[in-house]
């Protein structure tokens, strides 16, 4: 923790020059309502550095054609750049093989792929799926659809008041009908980092595969799918300084090979007759139709950018931001942090006495500060903690201590208006 204390004292570590990083992000120079933009809605979507924007422009101006088809120059270069992006993502999450990395449209699409490809084939009547109270709607609704279709049952891991999973209860939920576990790595609403490695080990000891929703983890920490030993890991490009419309599903090759395709169409087949279609090998079996080629290549550039800064350095800076912001808020009368897990990523949900989150959001926006207000697509966790909605500041590595100060000053302004 001494590194963090140093950061707090100097407001910037020698190794982590936040001002130099901010210069890479053109959008951060915007003014909103005549105030400098303070962008603290990174859990919803992150901003894009010039390096990624430039990569998109270079692809679009000199390399674009459809992939996996023609023999001409542009098609060959587009195909090779697309596959190069896959390799970059493979290394980013330390997947064993590149064919275990499937391009999807985002985390939601990745989870739906697993539900259709794995769930519909291997989960049946009376089987049980374990999810957690913390889950985002995108890791709840697909499984409810499957449960309804198959007559399967969903079991839910409870949380404590701090927003931490009750691991004893998780372990008690297992029985001979347990066929699948879906758990988020980091809570989008509260920031809780779940002990997924231990949860995966427990499930595997009972022969149960685990899908990890990594949407809020991949941008903020080093993810190693082999070390975690997860079966599926889903995340989105646009929360990772990449474009929208692109995401990743990592899947263990042996599982992917036995799964049903999710979407039918071009690229996912080897041969088609009206009598019989032979599916392509993985990952192509799951990539029907023309993929978002530019977005995939842009995401490749984004993980290059992040890797150059270093995920450990990013995590340390964000933890320093979270610690500083939490201390400031805890010292404010009438403001309460929602979600006080011991292990948290850079998400700060809070409530201000007597002020509805929507009013906070509108008034902070007046100060140029972007936060998210609402239920964060996680209504079960809101119900469990008895709050209809929260205000959420979520940090990225390009946020500064000065921006935390701006947030705190903004909350004070809100309190003043409402007294």
């Amino acid at each position: 923790m001494s590194a963090i204390q140093t950061t707090l004292k100097s407001r910037s570590t020698p190794a982590f020059d936040v001002e130099r990083i901010r210069a890479d992000f053109p959008i951060l120079t915007l003014k909103v309502n005549d105030k400098p933009l303070v962008y603290l809605d990174n859990a919803a979507s992150s901003q894009m550095p010039q390096q990624v924007i430039d990569r998109l422009v270079r692809y679009q101006t000199t390399q674009h054609a459809n992939i996996n088809r023609a023999v001409h120059y542009l098609s060959e270069i587009a195909t090779s750049e697309f596959e190069e992006a896959r390799r970059k993502l493979q290394h980013f999450i330390n997947a064993n093989e590149e064919r275990e990395v499937i391009f999807t449209s985002g985390t939601t699409d990745s989870i739906n792929l697993v539900m259709h490809g794995y769930g519909r084939k291997f989960i049946g009547a009376g089987d049980e799926i374990i999810l957690t109270t913390l889950e985002h709607h995108s890791n709840i609704v697909p499984w409810q659809m499957l449960a309804e279709e198959k007559g399967a049952k969903i079991r839910v891991v409870p949380i404590n008041d701090a927003g931490e999973l009750l691991i004893d209860e998780y372990e008690k939920l297992f029985n001979e009908r347990t066929k699948f576990v879906g758990v988020m790595h980091v809570s989008n609403a509260l920031g809780t980092i779940n002990p997924i490695k231990e949860m995966i080990a427990f499930a595997h000891a009972r022969g149960v595969p685990v899908l990890v929703d990594g949407a809020q983890a991949a941008p903020h920490m080093k993810v190693d799918v082999q070390d975690l030993d997860c079966d599926f890991y889903a995340f989105s490009g646009h929360k990772l300084c990449g474009p929208t419309g692109i995401g990743i599903l990592y899947g263990r090759a042996a599982l992917l090979e036995n799964m049903q395709p999710f979407k039918g169409g071009g690229d996912m087949i080897l041969s088609v007759t009206f009598e019989k279609t032979i599916y392509n090998t993985i990952p192509h079996k799951f990539e029907a139709g023309t993929p978002p080629i530019a977005a995939a290549i842009g995401l490749g550039a984004a993980v290059d950018y992040l890797s150059e800064i270093g995920m450990d350095a990013i995590a340390a800076h964000e933890l320093a931001l979270l610690k500083y912001a939490s201390e400031q808020i805890n010292a404010m009368p009438g403001v309460r942090i929602i979600g006080t897990a011991e292990h948290k990523a850079a998400v700060l949900s809070f409530a201000v006495d007597g002020v509805h989150p929507h009013d906070i959001g509108t008034l902070l926006n007046q100060e140029g500060i972007a936060v998210r207000t609402g239920h964060h697509c996680a209504q079960p966790v809101m119900q469990r903690l008895h709050v209809p909605a929260t205000s959420r500041a979520s940090f990225a590595f390009y946020n500064s201590m000065d921006e935390v100060d701006a947030l705190i000053a903004g909350i004070r302004t809100v309190q003043k208006i409402f007294t």
Partner: protein, 161 residues
């Protein structure tokens, strides 16, 4: 750019802090509940409609300041009006809040013009119009209204992560 300053002005903050006609009425002639499922806000509206005029009106619920002040000011504006007058005011308020009419073009709007600024804030329009939708529902015997129903002029999902 949105006109926040005019939105969070004294009169709205005052009605939020000390809402008028807050509570329920024992045996209302008309009643409805309104929901905004996107933020969890909900309010109930009770009305006592006499032979000619609205004799009493009350509201209750959990909501943001814009919604609560809108409901509070609605009750003070509506009390004593005929149903036809109330219906006209509902239409004027909805048109003003959704930016279809400027407040100058709403002859009956009066002090409710303080909500004109909300039309610049698409995500907040629903907050301001929820009480008026609910009142309209009460008059038309629609027990439960929602800002996400098909007939909502602002029907548009706000997605997210």
């Amino acid at each position: 750019m949105a006109n926040y300053k005019s939105l969070y002005q004294e009169v709205i903050l005052d009605h939020n802090k000390k809402p008028r006609n807050y509570g329920t009425i024992e045996s209302p002639s008309h009643h409805a509940v309104g929901h905004n499922p996107l933020c969890g806000d909900h309010i109930s509206v009770d009305v006592v409609l006499g032979d000619e005029r609205i004799n009493n009106i009350a509201f209750q619920g959990e909501s943001c300041a814009i919604c609560k002040a809108s409901a509070s000011m609605m009750t003070t504006a509506i009390k004593g009006k005929t149903r036809a007058e109330a219906e006209t005011l509902i239409q004027e308020f909805l048109a003003m809040a959704t930016g279809k009419l400027s407040h100058d073009a709403c002859p009956n709007i009066g002090r409710l013009a303080v909500f004109a600024g909300v039309s610049d804030l698409p995500t907040r329009v629903k907050c301001a119009i929820l009480p008026w939708h609910t009142l309209s529902g009460a008059f038309n015997a629609v027990a439960t209204t929602s800002t996400e129903s098909e007939d909502d002029p602002m029907h548009a999902p706000i997605g997210d992560a």
